[in-house]
Each structure stands twice: as structure tokens, then as C-alpha cells.
């Protein structure tokens, strides 16, 4: 187990594995997302209260879940990089940030589009929405900090600290709907044992979530390969890797 983890920490080995896994995740994401969109739009029954407007849930909830999942992954990678000085971990953290920012933007935008017909307003400054907006700024801050520092090691360390400190916002987002009075509805996916959705609706949501997870895996592996190449000092494995493409 430890040998496997140690091996995975080596850039040449990671590059090879990532190159092999990316198409698998990519095709799985494509199939799951197409099936999820079709099921969410045309197969799932209409909600008795929200009518067809509820179908936005099939893009909003997976985006919001991914925005948190990616941040936790980014912070974990940053912490591993900071504590054990593994450069690959910093490369993965750097690869996570733009994808996480795009899913956070998507969660905010689709949430806002959903809010207009349901709440009568595009935006309210309540705990869930505001803390999700703070998450977007954390992603932007992480990327801006990396871009602002020329020296790679310093950029890695400074951005890792920001990512780790920012983790405090994750439980705030998650539990904001329980801790404070908010217009936002309670969690949809945290009660799988006793789901608040009809199984005919839930199945497509889980499919979209699985599709988004695979999508994230494919894109983060692609971005991480680019980061690894940028940081490669030993030219021998780069030559072998590029010839093997």
C-alpha cells in the first residue's frame, strides 16, 4: 500500500497513470452526463409544487457538491505538499483551483436562475449563498496568489496556506441551512438513508453527480499532467513520456 502511494508520488509514474486513466473518466463522464440530462429533463416526473422549474436541481446540486468536494481535495493536496514537501501534491492543488472555481460559479449562477421563479429574486444575502460566494473568492484568491509569486516554491507554500485556512468555510456552507434561518432549502443529498426526493427523481440526480465526479477526474488529471510537465526538471522521463504519447 505505502509502496503504491510512494510510487504514485513520483511525477513519471503519475504522468503515465494519469494519461491512461483520463480517457476512461472522460467517456464515463460523457455517458453519465448525457443519460442524467435526458433523465432529468424528460424522464423524471414533474414536481407538484415547483413544476418543471425543479429540473434545475439536476445541474445545480451536482455543481454545488463538486464546488465543495474539489475545495476539500485541493486543501488536502495542498496540506500534503506543505507537510511532506511533495511537489506533485502542489501540482494537483493548482490543477484543482480553476475547475473548482468554475463549478462554484455554476452553482451560484444556476442557483440564481432557479431562485428567480421560486423566491421572486435573483439573489439574497443569506448564509448559504453568501458562504458559497466566499468560496468562489477563495478559489480566485488561491489562483491570484499563485500567479502573483514568481518563485515556484514560495507560490506553492503561500497558496497551500490559503487553501488550508479556507477549509473553515466548507462546513459553514454545508451546515448554513441548519444553523441559520435561510430561504435556501435543506440539503438534498445528505439524507440518502431517508431521501427527501422520490426515487424516480433521485436516480437521475445521482447519475449527474457521478457524471460530474468523473468529469472532474478527467479534467484534473489533464491539468495536473500539464502542471507536472511545467515543473519537470529531469528531462529523461519527459522524453520517454512524450514519445509514449
Amino acid at each position: 500500500m505505502w509502496t503504491w502511494i510512494h510510487k504514485l508520488g513520483s511525477p513519471p509514474h503519475f504522468y503515465r497513470i494519469a494519461t491512461r486513466l483520463t480517457p476512461w473518466f472522460g467517456w464515463a463522464a460523457l455517458l453519465l452526463i448525457i443519460a442524467g440530462i435526458y433523465g432529468g429533463l424528460y424522464v423524471a416526473p414533474t414536481d407538484y409544487q415547483q413544476l418543471d422549474g425543479f429540473r434545475i436541481i439536476y445541474v445545480h446540486v451536482p455543481s454545488a457538491s463538486l464546488s465543495l468536494f474539489i475545495y476539500v481535495n485541493m486543501a488536502l493536496a495542498a496540506a500534503v505538499g506543505l507537510v511532506w514537501r511533495i511537489k506533485l501534491a502542489h501540482a494537483i492543488a493548482a490543477a484543482c483551483a480553476p475547475i473548482g472555481a468554475s463549478f462554484t460559479f455554476l452553482a451560484l449562477a444556476t442557483g440564481s436562475i432557479w431562485a428567480k421563479p421560486m423566491w421572486g429574486t435573483w439573489w439574497v444575502w443569506d448564509a448559504r449563498l453568501t458562504s458559497e460566494l466566499v468560496l468562489l473568492f477563495l478559489y480566485f484568491g488561491f489562483m491570484a496568489l499563485r500567479a502573483a509569486i514568481d518563485e515556484e516554491n514560495r507560490a506553492d507554500r503561500a497558496s497551500a496556506l490559503l487553501a488550508i485556512i479556507g477549509v473553515i468555510n466548507v462546513p459553514i456552507i454545508k451546515y448554513s441551512v441548519d444553523w441559520w434561518n435561510t430561504l435556501h432549502q435543506p440539503a438534498t443529498l445528505s439524507k440518502l438513508g431517508k431521501p427527501s426526493m422520490d426515487p424516480d427523481m433521485l436516480i437521475w440526480l445521482l447519475m449527474m453527480l457521478a457524471g460530474f465526479m468523473c468529469f472532474f477526474a478527467a479534467v484534473v488529471l489533464t491539468r495536473a499532467r500539464a502542471e507536472v510537465l511545467l515543473r519537470a526538471r529531469d528531462q529523461k522521463w519527459v522524453r520517454q513520456a512524450l514519445e509514449g504519447r
Partner: protein
């Protein structure tokens, strides 16, 4: 609006949410692939330069 994109009084909201999602997903794929392609190109140039020197 084609019939398969009709979602009652919420058509605009549903269609715009799904369209925006697809656009963001496509931008993610394209930007990641372009970034990797540019890094591969740069790494190849670096290797070629080393070979020639």
C-alpha cells in the same frame, strides 16, 4: 422554441441553466486540453534545444 425544449412557464430558466452548464463544462475541457498541448509543445522545444546544444 422546439417542442422538446418546452418546460411550461419555466422554460427560459430550465433551458438557460442547462445551456450554461454545458458551456462551462465545454470551456473546462477545451482549456485543460489547450493547456496540456501548450506544455507538451514547450517541453518538446526544450528537449530539441538540449539535443542541438
Amino acid at each position: 422554441m422546439p417542442e422538446f425544449l418546452e418546460f411550461g412557464k419555466h422554460t427560459t430558466y430550465v433551458v438557460s441553466s442547462f445551456s450554461l452548464t454545458l458551456v462551462v463544462l465545454i470551456i473546462n475541457v477545451v482549456s485543460a486540453r489547450l493547456r496540456l498541448a501548450s506544455r507538451v509543445k514547450r517541453a518538446r522545444q526544450r528537449l530539441a534545444l538540449e539535443e542541438n546544444s
